[in-house]
């Protein structure tokens, strides 16, 4: 496992999200990937409790398709985003997966209003045809039990 490669992968993913490069971001995902942003608390059971996002790949693909229509008005004009990803720790997971823990601070500026988001992320990465792919991503927002403004961009 190459720490540098994993770190670069996570930084690149962050930049694709910041720059709304939706298709390139979706291409980072394994076809059986799971994207989870818990609601209310970090350890909620996503099968029994509602989540802010709980997408398998087909729902994720729909989410991206919608954002690309130009008619997703909550992102028209798009948010300007700038995130700092840090505190990356890497572990070996089961089945040869790589588990990466990280934290982020995200500035979200839209229509003269600036919102700050904070959170911790767990990635599970898998090597598919030589390239790292996201098999699982869990984003634990600091404010996941608070009334949130729109979160219509990629987090």
């Amino acid at each position: 496992m190459d720490y540098r490669e994993v770190e670069q992968f996570i930084f690149r993913e962050a930049r694709l999200m910041d720059e709304h490069r939706y298709d390139e971001w979706l291409a980072l995902w394994a076809r059986d990937g799971l994207y989870w942003v818990p609601c209310g608390r970090d350890d909620a059971d996503p099968e029994r409790e509602v989540s802010i996002i709980y997408d398998r790949y087909p729902q994720l693909a729909n989410r991206i398709q919608r954002l690309r229509t130009g008619k997703a008005f909550a992102e028209d004009p798009p948010s300007r985003l700038c995130r700092v990803v840090s505190n990356i720790e890497i572990e070996t997971g089961s089945d040869g997966e790589i588990v990466a823990h990280s934290t982020f601070v995200l500035g979200d500026l839209r229509k003269h209003r600036e919102v700050h988001w904070y959170g911790r992320t767990i990635h599970r990465l898998r090597r598919i045809d030589g390239a790292l792919r996201i098999a699982y991503k869990k984003v634990m927002l600091l404010n996941n039990d608070e009334p949130l403004p729109n979160l219509a961009f990629l987090i």
Partner: protein
């Protein structure tokens, strides 16, 4: 009318409303008095506090309240305010009050029933100066309709049943879909905030003109691309809007649901395996019989609103609207699960709650953005009237006497405003001047 008082009859007309109703802080303060202190307002569902000691923190207008079940399983709605020096006695939004509520400041302790059970150094009161039984947490009137709980700060003789009127039929319709005849709201809550007036979401939830336009990005995903949405929303469409009186209203999709075999707007078609669907239908038939089960599935989840702060939407979602200030509102979305339904069906209801209508959903964020665009546009102060004239001349009455319009008309919003004008024009709440 007292000097300086606001003339609501002038601001709310039959076919248009004045922008000031959305941005004037004095009007917001009147609303907290004349609406949220004078009508039944939704506070929660019995299943949220199913166990003795369980509580959730809610609001009556701007006032903090606790909805709690005491050790004898009785429900109470209590002001979250210590009777001694005014301190919140509960800091959490939900939980189990095993030992009741204890004020941190001087240690006054209240049972889950609100009763004052103790304080340090009671000797500080001279004999006869203080009776504990007079200083329990202040109780707010609470009534239930089949599990849905509403509070009233100043009960005036109007029962909850009177207030709910025809919406009880729609609550029944939602509950009938549960094989065990019960809805359960214990699957968490999504919370969404916006910087605009609370009435925008109350109007929008009954506006069936906007969905195929504002939400086209969600309607035209691969799954809906080939569907003719005009067949629901257009001039030949089968959706109807209905003003149910007292500010309540409905978007009636039952014709489309029946046409599509039920559950048109949610995940019982395609997304749930056939055996789970069959088990669900069998469960429903055991309780209702074959004929009524088929009719219930045909109607599916209703889409309706109870003035001033409750909505129910087809993915099985209860909404609680919380006005925070004249230009800030919070919406709480609760998945409403069907007791006795196969787990797979409730899982799909939970998933679609977040997927469609949460802060990161495919639908709700566009509504939220529109409310904020509305509030921004209200700064333009020339000809400040918002139009509500669509269908005014063509709406008709249904067999129950309710006004009915086409999806793209504004019968339901007019219904909200008609009731609003009546409540807001009454400065004293019916009391003598």
């Amino acid at each position: 009318m007292a000097a300086g008082a606001i003339d609501y009859g002038e601001l709310v007309r039959e076919d248009q409303v004045h922008a000031r109703l959305y941005y004037d802080d004095a009007i917001f303060r009147d609303e907290m008095e004349r609406i949220f202190s004078r009508v039944w307002a939704y506070v929660g569902h019995e299943s949220e506090v199913a166990e003795p000691g369980e509580f959730v923190a809610r609001w009556m207008g701007l006032q903090p309240v606790l909805l709690v079940r005491d050790r004898n399983r009785r429900l109470h709605l209590l002001l979250n305010r210590c009777r001694h020096r005014s301190n919140t006695v509960c800091q959490l939004e939900r939980g189990k009050a095993a030992g009741g509520f204890r004020c941190a400041y001087h240690g006054w302790t209240y049972a889950a029933s609100g009763e004052l059970i103790g304080m340090p150094y009671p000797v500080g009161y001279a004999p006869g100066d203080f009776r504990k039984e007079d200083y329990g947490l202040i109780e707010v009137a609470l009534e239930s309709y089949r599990g849905f709980l509403f509070g009233h700060l100043n009960p005036n003789g109007k029962t909850l049943r009177d207030h709910l009127g025809a919406t009880t039929r729609l609550i029944d319709q939602a509950i009938d879909l549960a094989p065990n005849g019960e809805l359960i709201l214990r699957a968490g809550v999504l919370k969404h905030m916006y910087r605009a007036n609370w009435k925008m979401t109350m109007e929008n939830v009954l506006d069936a003109y906007h969905p195929p336009i504002l939400h086209q990005s969600a309607f035209h995903l691969d799954s809906g691309k080939s569907f003719n949405w005009d067949s629901i929303y257009g001039p030949d469409g089968n959706a109807r809007i209905r003003d149910l009186g007292d500010g309540h209203g409905q978007i009636d999709f039952s014709a489309q649901n029946r046409k599509s075999g039920g559950f048109f707007f949610q995940g019982l078609r395609g997304e749930v395996a056939g055996d789970a669907q069959r088990a669900y239908i069998e469960g429903l038939e055991r309780r209702l019989g074959k004929e009524r089960a088929a009719e219930t599935i045909g109607n599916s989840d209703p889409h309706f609103s109870i003035f001033p702060n409750f909505n129910f939407l087809p993915p099985g979602q209860v909404r609680l609207i919380r006005p925070v200030s004249v230009d800030e509102t919070h919406i709480y979305y609760f998945p409403a699960l069907l007791a006795g339904a196969p787990e797979e069906i409730n899982r799909e209801r939970i998933r679609r709650n977040g997927y469609m209508h949460g802060p990161a959903g495919l639908v709700a964020p566009d509504d939220i953005d529109v409310y904020e665009r509305n509030q921004d546009a209200l700064r333009a102060r020339k000809d400040e009237w918002l139009l509500l004239r669509r269908g005014l001349r063509t709406e008709r009455r249904d067999e129950d006497g309710f006004r009915v319009g086409m999806a793209y008309e504004e019968t339901t919003q007019r219904g909200i405003w008609r009731h609003y004008r009546k409540l807001m024009s009454d400065a004293t709440g019916g009391a003598a001047q």
